[in-house]
């Protein structure tokens, strides 16, 4: 009897010891590579740390400039571009993931592999390849000239060095990231629910709208965040294909740190603001998902 009582208590103790051991590494990782750098950036943003030598004290100049120096309009411009890209990519990826997950084809994993195949090449190369496609003498313009749809020397200049170019390339780059979480959600769907909907005389569209879509919403939201979070702070793609019109918030952060004259104080404030916005958005989405899941249950 005593032995039987001691066994679960030993198991509980082992669990208590195992938890910190298991969590230790990821938590340490987060502290060292996320929390500590964020604290350092925060100290730069209030001038407690400075690139310049000599005395420096707490100041909110960087934060003041963030809200009064015209940076917010740039942030909204980037956020809008990012929202459009995320929404369009999710809309484009959903049917793809739906087909792969629900079509029952035996080749779905091969097709999935094909979808993520571009990831086998470098990000930079994939973006640069678009320059070849979109440039004045590139594939699209040459094709249009060949079709006599545009005169030689009068190319569609909006294709490159524009907001359109940035959004197109970002969409292309992040499409597989969107398709994967939706695919996983759809593949784990309880198909008996669809059978039940069918038994209850729901049409295919009704079954999709009232069963499949609500149940796949966590995947959709996750996919949306997967695109929105990195693209809102993106700077490589706009640097390469954005030109004057495609300049984004991420480019501004880089420029404040590295070009013109270093202004790490304002740059740090901009970076922290971005982290804050993304954190708030993530929390809101997660809460929304939990409420949705609870309702579904």
């Amino acid at each position: 009897m005593t032995q039987a009582a001691a066994a679960p208590s030993r198991r509980r103790r082992r669990l208590k010891l195992a938890m910190p051991a298991l969590l230790g590494l990821p938590v340490s990782w987060l502290v060292v590579f996320l929390v500590a750098p964020a604290v350092i950036v925060a100290l730069y943003s209030v001038n407690e740390l400075s690139l310049f030598p000599g005395p420096h004290s707490f100041a909110l100049g960087g934060w003041y400039r963030l809200f009064h120096g015209g940076f917010m309009s740039l942030f909204w411009k980037s956020a809008k571009m990012s929202l459009i890209v995320s929404a369009l990519v999710v809309a484009a990826a959903y049917p793809l993931a739906y087909f792969l997950a629900l079509s029952g084809t035996r080749r779905k994993y091969v097709l999935l592999l094909l979808l993520i195949a571009p990831f086998l090449t470098s990000y930079l190369l994939r973006v640069l390849a678009w320059k070849v496609i979109l440039s004045d003498g590139g594939v699209i313009n040459t094709f249009l000239v060949w079709l006599h749809l545009e005169a030689h020397g009068h190319s569609l200049s909006f294709l490159l060095y524009s907001r359109f170019a940035v959004m197109l390339v970002l969409g292309y780059v992040w499409l597989p990231f969107v398709a994967l979480p939706i695919f996983v959600t759809l593949e784990t769907l309880d198909f008996r629910l669809l059978e039940a909907a069918s038994d209850l005389y729901a049409s295919r569209l009704q079954a999709f709208l009232r069963v499949t879509l609500p149940l796949s919403l966590p995947g959709v939201v996750a996919a949306f965040l997967f695109v929105f979070i990195p693209t809102v702070g993106e700077f490589v793609t706009p640097s390469l294909v954005g030109g004057q019109a495609g300049y984004m918030y991420g480019n501004q952060i880089v420029d404040l740190f590295a070009t013109g004259f270093p202004d790490w104080e304002t740059g740090a404030a901009l970076a922290l603001f971005l982290i804050g916005v993304i954190a708030v958005l993530t929390i809101v989405f997660v809460r929304f998902l939990r409420i949705g899941e609870a309702r579904a249950a």
């Binding site: 690139l51 030598p53 200049s157 004057q244 590295a258 070009t259 004259f261 270093p262």
Partner: protein, 371 residues
């Protein structure tokens, strides 16, 4: 001898110099004075490790090897090791402040005063650079701050306008071509606060490098109003070449090397604007705590030779501070006035200079970009 952390002047005390001279004189009988001086310096300093250099793209092992081949031959155990290329002086400044430790780096003339005042660099000892006497005296002077030689001049050139003569017909030779509405979408600006200076130059500010607040406001508003004519701001020459070569842009702020590269395939003109081009001179600067100051001097000496200069002129189309360096092409000689020792100054051009309100200029340029 441990030399770390001491200024170079102190490291070579009078006794050392006498010893160096004696060694040079003694060995000179056998191997000539130059070799003796080299041997003496090497013995005197005992500097070890690879020379750490921070330079621009194209000036390291990515194409610029001929510039320092003599150094590598002489010091095979101390070959230069290049940090990732400088993208601009601010980038270099930030990296050094954040902990990068090159022995030497190469900002341009407008930054000499800034870096000399920053406390990050120390003056060179021109006596340790044999080719120093052949360097253009005007450029040498531009590398001085408070009488000390903080910058050793090397390459030089101009900021001006490159355009396609088959597509573009300028109303006049003017910086105004960068803002010409007729060529909207076919123009490339330079991604640098220098655009504020250029706007000031075009709008006839009294001192484009130190504009008054009303002049600055006018320059910034002008750039904002003309932003739509520029398709992009280039920060890397390869981006410019790709866009210019493919016909995406016909007009660009450019350097002589861009003209040299583009004229191989396209009918291009490197304009001399009536408001005058801006001239620049590269300046080697020695970091204060460099553990290899003598090797750094030897490296700069190799760069300063007439042979290196000729190679630079022939291959990159830039001028070289060594007045004995002459390019093979007379066209290049004429076009860039490489034979004119005062080409970088008035009445031919404005030599780039310190911008007292540098941070204001930078903030305003950022304002233009995000407008």
């Amino acid at each position: 001898m441990d030399v770390e952390g001491e200024p170079l002047d102190r490291r070579l005390s009078r006794a050392d110099m006498l010893r160096l001279a004696a060694l040079a004189a003694g060995a000179g009988v056998v191997a000539g004075p130059a070799a003796a001086a080299d041997a003496a310096i090497a013995r005197l300093t005992k500097e070890t490790g690879r020379l750490q250099v921070m330079d621009w793209a194209g000036y390291g092992n990515d194409g610029g090897q001929s510039m320092f081949a003599a150094y590598v031959k002489k010091y095979p155990n101390n070959k230069p090791q290049f940090a990732s290329p400088m993208t601009n002086e601010t980038n270099a400044y930030g990296r050094i402040r954040a902990g990068a430790h090159p022995d030497l780096f190469r900002p341009y003339v407008g930054w000499v005063k800034f870096f000399a005042q920053s406390g990050l660099v120390q003056p060179w000892n021109p006596k340790l650079i044999r080719n120093f006497e052949h360097l253009n005296p005007f450029m040498v002077k531009a590398g001085q701050y408070r009488g000390k030689q903080y910058g050793i001049p090397d390459d030089w050139g101009f900021d001006a306008i490159l355009y396609r003569k088959d597509k573009v017909h300028p109303k006049s030779n003017s910086w105004g071509l960068l803002f010409d509405e007729r060529y909207k979408g076919k123009i490339a600006w330079f991604d640098d606060l220098e655009m504020i200076t250029i706007a000031g130059l075009y709008l006839k500010a009294k001192n484009p490098w130190n504009q008054t607040s009303s002049e600055l406001k006018r320059s910034v508003n002008f750039l904002k109003s003309k932003k739509h004519v520029a398709r992009f701001n280039w920060s890397s020459e390869t981006d410019l070449w790709q866009a210019f070569g493919s016909g995406e842009v016909w007009i660009a702020y450019a350097w002589p090397n861009d003209w040299v590269q583009m004229k191989k395939k396209l009918p291009v003109v490197y304009m001399h604007p009536k408001e005058k081009p801006i001239a620049w001179v590269g300046m080697f600067m020695l970091l204060k705590n460099s553990p290899r100051p003598h090797l750094a001097h030897a490296y700069v000496d190799a760069w300063s030779s007439a042979r290196s200069g000729k190679w630079l002129e022939d291959n990159y189309g830039y001028g070289h501070a060594n007045v004995e360096a002459k390019p093979s092409s007379s066209q290049l000689l004429k076009a860039l006035q490489l034979a004119n020792p005062k080409a970088v100054t008035l009445p031919n051009a404005y030599l780039d200079r310190d911008i007292p309100q540098r941070s204001t200029y930078a903030n305003l340029w950022e304002e233009v970009k995000r407008a």
